[in-house]
Amino acid sequence: MDVVAARGLVKSFALQPALRGVNLAVPSGELCGVVGADGAGKTTLLRCVAGLYRPDAGTVAPGRAGRADVGFCPQGFHLYPDLTVDENVDFFGAAYGLDVATRAARRDELLDFAGLVGHRARLAGHLSGGMQQKLTLVCSVLHRPSILLLDEPTTGVDPLSRRQFWRLIEELHVAGTTILLASSYFDEVERCEHVVFLHEGRVLSDGGVDELTERGASLEDAFRASLSGVGT
C-alpha cells in the first residue's frame, strides 16, 4: 500500500512553478530518496506531503489530514537554540500530546539512540551541526510517526556525523518507518530502495538504484542521461 502518494501535484509561488505535475508513490516501509539540484522542488514536494503547503492542483497524501502520522525533519536547524536539549525534546513531546511518563521514557530512549545523552543540559544552539541534526531527528520521531520526511538532513554536516546520522535513519527504516528523503547528494540516495530524479519541478525518472543505473555507470550518470532525455 502506498502511504506517500502524489498525483499530478502542482505548486507555484508568485506564478513561478515549483512543482509541475509530480507523480510519486512510496509503499509502506520503503526508504525513498528524491534527488535533484537546488531549486528542483524537493523541499516543496516534502512540504506538500507534510501538509505545510496546499497544492495548487493534484492530490497528495498524507498531507494535512495525516500529519499525526508524519515526522518532518527540515533542512537546517529549526529547534529552539535557547532551550537545552532536554527542554527541546520535552517541549516537542508535549506538543505531540505525550504524557509526562511517555515523554520521559521516549526522551531517554531517543537521546541514547542518537548519542546525545551526555549533552542533555547543553543549549541546543551550542551543539555542533551534526548534533543539532540528530536532535532535530529525535524531536521529529518522538510521536513514533509511521512516515518520516527528511529534507537534506546531512547538508553541512561533517562526514563522521553524516555516517552516524545514516545509522539512525537505517535503524528507523529497519523498524518499519516509511522514509522519504530529499538530498542533493547522489551517494546518499544510493542507500535508498527507491530513487526519484527531480528536475525543475518534474520527475525525470524513478525506480530502484539497479534499475536506474542501467542507463549509466553511476546514479549521477543516470541522472545526466535522464536530463539529456528531456532535452535540458
Binding site: Y53, R64, V70, H78, Y80, D82, F91, F92, A95, S140
Partner: protein, 371 residues
Amino acid sequence: MPPDGSYGPTSTDPSVTRSSLPSARRRGSMRRLRAITRKEFIQLVRDRRTLALMIGMPLVLLLIFGYGVRLSVDNIGVELVGHDSPAVRAVLSEHQHFRVAPAVAPTLTAARRDLFNGSEAVAVVVDALGRPVRVLIDGSNAFVAQNSLEYLRTLMSSGTSAPVEILYNPTLRSADFMVPAEVGMIMLWVGTVATAIGVVREREQGTLEQLMMTPIGKLELMVGKILPYSVLTLLIAVMITVLGLVLFRVPMRGNPIELFLFAIPYLVAALSIGLLISTVAQNQRQAMQTATFILLPQVLLSGALFPLSAIPWGIRWVSQMLPLTYFTPISRGMFLKGLGFAQLWPEVSVLCAMALVFTVLAALLFKTRLD
C-alpha cells in the same frame, strides 16, 4: 535499541485509548498549552536583552514623564520695559511660571532685541504710572508662548475674576496627568511588541514550521504565545502604578483591582494587535517597524498626551478606533477621580468589543500553513 524494541511507528499512543478520546483530547490540548506557555516563559527569562528592554523601557519612560516632561512651562524669562513697577513685578513673581529680570529694558527696541536673542521670552511694557500697557511674547516656541499668554491673562485679571477651584488635580501637576496615561501606553507597547516579536521569531527561526507539524492547534498556539506576555505586561503595569504612587505621589482614588480588571480587555486588544502584526511581518525588524507605525498614532491621537478636542474632526475617526483612546479615560478617571464601572462602562464595553474583533481577526489571519 529502546526497551520496547522499536523506534518505528506505533498505531496508538499509550496515553490515549479509544474509549477516552474526548477527555484525552482535552488533556492533550491542556498539555500542549502548558508546554507552549512554559517554553515562552523560559525563553523570556533567558532572553536577557529583550527582558531588560521590556522592563527598563517603561521605567525610563516613567522617569522621563514623571520628572522630565512638564506640560506646564515654568521659569519663563520676562522683563519689564520702560519703567520698573513693584506691583507688576509682584504679580508676575507670585507664581513660579515667570522669572522676572532685575534690570528694566530701557526701550521697546532693546526689549525686541532681548526677545530676538532669546535671553527673554516675554517683555511687559510699563507706563510711567506703573501699569502694564503692552506685552511682547516670543512666538517662535508656540508651546512657551501659549503658556505665557494663558498665565498672563490669569495673572492680569486675577483681581477681578471669580475665584477658581481646580478639581481632581488642583496644582495641575504633570505627573498626575501623565502617570495614569503612561500605564496604558506601556501596556500597549509591551503587549503589542512582545507578542509580535515572539511569534515572528518562531517564523524567522523556522520553528513555526516544526510547530505546524505537531497537533498544536491555532488557538492553542495563539493562547500559549500570548499568556506569558499578558502576565509580563500586567506585572509591568502594576510596577508602573506602584512607582507612580510612591515616587510621584499620584493619587489612586479608585479601586486598583477594578482598574486591572478593566485593563484585561485592553490588554487582549493590545496582544491581538501584536498577533495581527505577526501575520504580516516576516522578520523581527519588520515587526518592530510595523509596531511603531501602529503605536505612534495611538500615543499621539488617543488623548493620552494631547486632548482629543485638539484633534481635527477629519482624523478624529482614527482616534475612535484606537484602544488607548478608551483606556486613557478609564485610567485617569480611576486614578484621579475615583470613577468606577458605573461611570466607565461605555469605555469598558468598547474595549471588550475591540478585544473580540481584534482576536477574531488575528485568529482568521494567523496561518497554520507556510503558504
